[in-house]
Symmetry: C2
Subunit: 351 residues, 2 copies
């Protein structure tokens, strides 16, 4: 259109992975914020606290004592949303009241023995160990369960109740909504275009460059064209990869490196331990291991809530919940800001 | 299944309006909460504050002075996400980079001249005036725009930056995601069963009773079978109604009454001004006024974030954002708790 500028003129963008739209109204970032301020994260976390159930040597809710682990440490979630056994729900006798069985396993994985660390402050070797543990868990739980969701809630703002660096792994007997959605859209794209959607997307973004945040020989991170959260990113491999366990040795090293670079930029953005929820999506597992999943491409989503500062978040509320997600700066503007940030963590910078 | 109990055994429930599932793990409510506590709402809001741009007689961001209004008051949002004119976005030349024009109007509606009131503390006549103003705005903006989203963000926790009782109305040149979804699912249900989905659903819930919160001759409020937020509710008419402006005089009165009863119960639940986002969904407007929209049924969604107390909310984060919504008490348990609460506001109870 004549005179259209994405940073000036509201428009909608289509998310082909979720088959939905986002409203981009970048001019709106000018409005003053008089609403709720978030508490900045607690920066005084003790390295070791025997009362913290995630620490080496601590006693957990079920009475078990953690080993004095030195790398990653995986244990069963003491309050699991999914358990291996649950009876089938009764038939309600009406199609508007449909229930289905849900079975599964919930695990917690500590990234490191020290409570005062986070991924961006860990070494490449230590991050590499986390990646290996992820791949192992996905292979192990994915042997029987159709979906293994690895996710990290980082920061109290993201409902994380423990500052110790950790993630969770929930394996389920069903494909959750997001998996079903991405299964459908990726399958359809593959059928229509003969190439995996996110492989084609990564190639396009590597050429277009305006939404790139960091890249290396195997990976790239972009603020997706259809991002809803202000600084949302998508981590993509350059080659076609179905699942975490399919990554070769050098791809795991380059993944550790690109994750670290991204997360350091995130922390540097507002000079705060950057809150987010992140998680991995790969081809379904269990019975799907036998199927052709060539339409899938492994990827990780990062969903950070902050908008303007360490204490001002984006609220996805009224209009977003009832109508459509809305964002206040363009994905290109977000990518440019992240790109410009140093790759040395603000806490480790020489004074 | 043998021995299945919804309050003991995790299961999934299907939301036919959004074509997605929710994981119900009621046993999980037992876990202790050591995470972030919310600030309880500020209870000392002055009745009139000349510096508050929503107050009668105050000066707004654009320099205009509000009239000394005595009922509801509607004015244009000074930082609108949607404006009437915006050029068409350029063609990106690739199907994975799709943008579309977005045009619209954003209005703010004050419910009452007093900043220290909220809907549950207003009189039936005053709430009725809000309903009439809603119906008028929907008719006026819906004359040309295909979707008119009326929504209220209540409480700082829901991104509301001003305590003065108000809602927003965003009209758009497009059907937002949620509207498209509900359009598709309701149309399909109507085609298959010959009756509007939510009309049939309301009849079923009126019989089953276990998820009813309040009801009167024209309306009912249920915690829907597929609720995701702990105390989410759905407000439904008993007769087939397409849009707010189609409500007759007595239905508007009974709507004021049922809204007030629901909102008093909400405030009484944790003895706090209960935060939520709510909004109306009715048949599309603009060009759709000429179409057969018989599959639509008018309804309002209430999405409140609180879970256990005035300061402990449900976080819809990692698993929810990346896989599927999960809830910690059954909809039946939530309905039972709401049902049992008094219908006199805790602030107005005789000491
Ligand atoms: O317009 P407000 O009330 O300042 O803003 C609030 O509601 C909007 C519509 O849901 C959201 O986009 C904003 O994130 C939220 O803070
Ligand atoms: O298991 P946690 O970390 O205590 O709980 C957190 O993550 C879960 C999975 O996203 C959410 O269901 C909870 O609402 C959130 O507080």
């Amino acid at each position: 259109g004549a005179g259209f500028r994405a940073s000036e003129h509201q428009h909608c963008r289509y998310n082909p992975l979720r088959d939905e739209w986002v409203l981009v109204s970048a001019h709106r970032v000018k409005r003053p914020w008089q609403g709720q301020l978030e508490k900045p994260p607690n920066e005084d976390v003790p390295r070791w606290d025997p009362k913290n159930p995630l620490c080496p040597g601590a006693t957990r809710a079920n009475g078990e004592v953690n080993p004095h682990y030195e790398g990653t440490f995986v244990f069963p979630n003491d309050f699991p949303a999914l358990q291996p056994d649950a009876p089938e729900p009764d038939d309600s006798g009406h199609p508007l009241f449909r229930a289905a069985a849900a079975r599964g396993v919930c695990k917690v994985m500590c990234f490191h023995p020290h409570s005062d660390l986070t991924l961006p402050l860990m070494s490449l070797l230590e991050i590499r160990a986390v990646i290996d543990a992820w791949a192992e868990l996905e292979a192990e739980l994915g042997a029987s369960y159709p979906w293994v969701q690895i996710f990290e809630n980082k920061g109290a703002m993201m409902g994380c109740s423990n500052p110790h660096p950790h993630c969770q792994v929930w394996a389920s007997s069903f494909l959750p909504n997001e998996a079903r959605l991405e299964e459908r859209t990726q399958r359809q794209h593959h059928r229509q275009h003969g190439v995996p959607m996110l492989l084609e997307y990564a190639e396009q973004e590597a050429q277009r460059k305006e939404r790139l945040v960091v890249e290396n020989e195997d990976w790239l991170v972009v603020v997706p064209y259809w991002a809803t959260w202000p600084f949302q990113t998508l981590l993509l491999p350059r080659r076609h990869v179905l699942r975490l366990q399919d990554l070769c040795d050098s791809e795991r090293d380059s993944l550790a490196s690109i994750m670290r670079r991204l997360l350091i930029k995130y922390d540097n953005l507002f000079q705060v331990s950057f809150p987010y929820s992140m998680g991995w999506h790969g081809a379904p597992t269990g019975p799907h291991l036998q199927e052709d999943c060539g339409h899938w491409q492994l990827h990780a989503h990062y969903y950070p809530p902050l908008l303007r500062s360490a204490t001002v978040r984006k609220f996805m509320v009224g209009y977003e919940m009832l109508a459509q997600a809305q964002r206040d700066l363009t994905p290109e503007q977000a990518a440019e800001r992240l790109r410009a940030l140093p790759e040395v963590h603000y806490k480790l910078r020489p004074q």
